[in-house]
């Protein structure tokens, strides 16, 4: 009986993996196409679009900007969300549920509306620097991912452990640091990965905040498409995929993916 479930489970896992990777597979294949048309199957392999990409400095600048904005906003969002999630989960504040709602609601608004609201508000207070505006906005849109993941993880946490640590002489912050934070770490990693990627792929809010000094990668991809839909965008995506695989392998080397509990 149990064996049947395991076999079925593995079969299902395989199907889902194929489904998840299908568009990625097409993208990688197209990036090596010799043709100017974003099409598949590819009969010969060519690095033509990578060569073209290497000459397009605007892509690399945008990649740098996006990586920078995603990193800063993820760090800020983690710093804000972790204590807030602890306070919400321990019901330490009145209206905990309302606060959870507030912190996760940016996901529920169409990005274009939030983008227009940000644009008006930032300009009204005289804030015009694109990078600053993008970071403030991206912290807002990354908070929900981290808060949601942390709250789910805190649900499983046995808070009597903190009390136990305190009876053993720890202060409250000490007990939190020793007992709670290590238990939360995997959720922080998951939430941060989410947040980073959500910021990295944000299009509808950034649209209104980028300017000549700072342009993020999704906006650059979109702008590039306005000059022609060729496999260059598949090439930049493939490079990003390689970065991700490298990052995962590196994480595995350093801490061991399974111990790190990326999930």
């Amino acid at each position: 009986m149990a064996r049947v479930f395991i076999v079925l489970g593995r079969f299902w896992a395989l199907l889902v993996i194929v489904f998840l990777l299908a568009p990625i597979f097409v993208t990688v294949a197209v990036s090596f196409s010799p043709s100017a048309v974003f099409d598949f199957p590819v009969d010969r392999l060519s690095t033509r679009w990578y060569e073209r990409l290497s000459r397009q400095s605007s892509f690399w600048e945008a990649l740098g900007t996006s990586a920078w904005i995603a990193s800063v906003s993820t760090l800020l969002a983690v710093a804000l969300a972790t204590p807030a999630a602890i306070a919400i989960a321990t019901r330490a504040i009145p209206g905990a549920r309302t606060l959870a709602g507030l912190l996760t609601s940016p996901l529920m608004m169409p990005g274009l509306v939030v983008g227009i609201a940000f644009l008006q508000a930032f300009r009204a207070v005289g804030l015009r620097d694109a990078q600053t505006c993008l970071v403030i906005a991206h912290v807002i849109i990354t908070l929900p991912y981290i808060v949601r993941t942390l709250l789910a993880s805190l649900h499983l946490f046995d808070f009597s452990l903190i009390d136990a640590a305190r009876t053993l002489g720890s202060t409250w912050p000490g007990a939190v640091a020793k007992v709670l934070l290590p238990a939360l770490f995997p959720a922080v990693v998951t939430g941060s990965a989410f947040a980073f990627l959500a910021s990295f792929d944000n299009y509808s809010i950034s649209l209104f905040l980028v300017d000549v000094t700072a342009r993020t990668l999704p906006i650059q991809v979109l702008n590039y498409l306005e000059t022609g839909a060729d496999p260059t965008i598949a090439a930049i995506s493939t490079i990003l995929l390689c970065f991700t695989v490298l990052a995962l392998l590196l994480a595995d080397r350093i801490v061991g993916v399974r111990r790190l509990d990326l999930g």
Binding site: A36, V37, L127, R128, D129, Q131, T132, E226, T227, G228
Partner: protein, 349 residues
Amino acid sequence: MTQATSKTRRSFLAQTAAGASLALAAPALAQVRRKELIIGGPAGMTDVLKEDVFPSFERKYGCRVLFDGSSSLENLKKMQAVKDRPQFSVVLMDDPVMIVAQDEKLIEKIDPKNIPNIGAIVQNAIVRDGWWLSYKWPRASIAYNSKNLPGGTPSWAMLWDPKYKGKVMIPSVRATQIPFILAAAAHLETGKPIAEAQYDINAAFKKLATIRSNLLLIYNGSAQVANLIETGEATLGAGMFSSYTLWRKRAGAPVDLGYPQEGSFAMPSGIAKVAKAPEPELADAFISETLGAEYQKVWADKLYDTPTNPSVTLPPEVAAASTLTVIDWGFVAQNRNEWMSRFDREIAI
């Protein structure tokens, strides 16, 4: 607070901190201003402007030109948000958006005295007594797959041909190009000349309602349309224009822009001076230069768009087009909201 482009991470962090304290105090950061001209315009123009226009302009006027490429509507939103202290000096936008910008006084009327080249362009390129100028007219008609359709698109009526069931794409009612489709539809329905048929909206909607079974997609962006045609999944893309389609053709994609017998349309590529523009002299100079023979030739050779300065010798792709129909954009602006609501309820279902 026009930012210099080079910025250290540290100063950025400081600014983030300022932002975190919400900039409610709006700190007046000291700033160094270079002589910089910032232009907002369509993203598709980025490469051509940066390669063939800005370098010579920068040399001639000893300045630096920066280009913010996004769609007309986003540029409009950005201009509205900084109305009192604009960032752009010059904007390149489509007429429907220019009309809004004029109503909201985001742009200012061109002073012909400051635009020496204004005399070089044809009269109907000077829009609304010179609030803005049509610096070029991209030609819009029907894009098609040149492998599957070697005969091209001899008529707008092809869009309705049952042979192309599920193979036709038309633009969204929110796209600049929709009046072209409406005018062609009204012309086919009534037999009136296109210039006259554009006002017969009931006929247009009646005819357009019958295109629905042929539609693969009502599109929002050129990239998707071009890709579907190039891969053969779609055959006809109505409302596509020269500077996109013929670029793809030059890149080797099996796509071309047809010459329907009823005629092609002029995309309204306008250029205007922003109200309270920083660097107003440079702005005037840039506007004037876009009308001069040098850059007009760039529009024709590199973008395959029709120059509004008739002195330019045309490449064959551009010369082959007979006269382009210029839509009455004022009429469109008056009726647009009604058309949009009608289109959403009658066609896009």
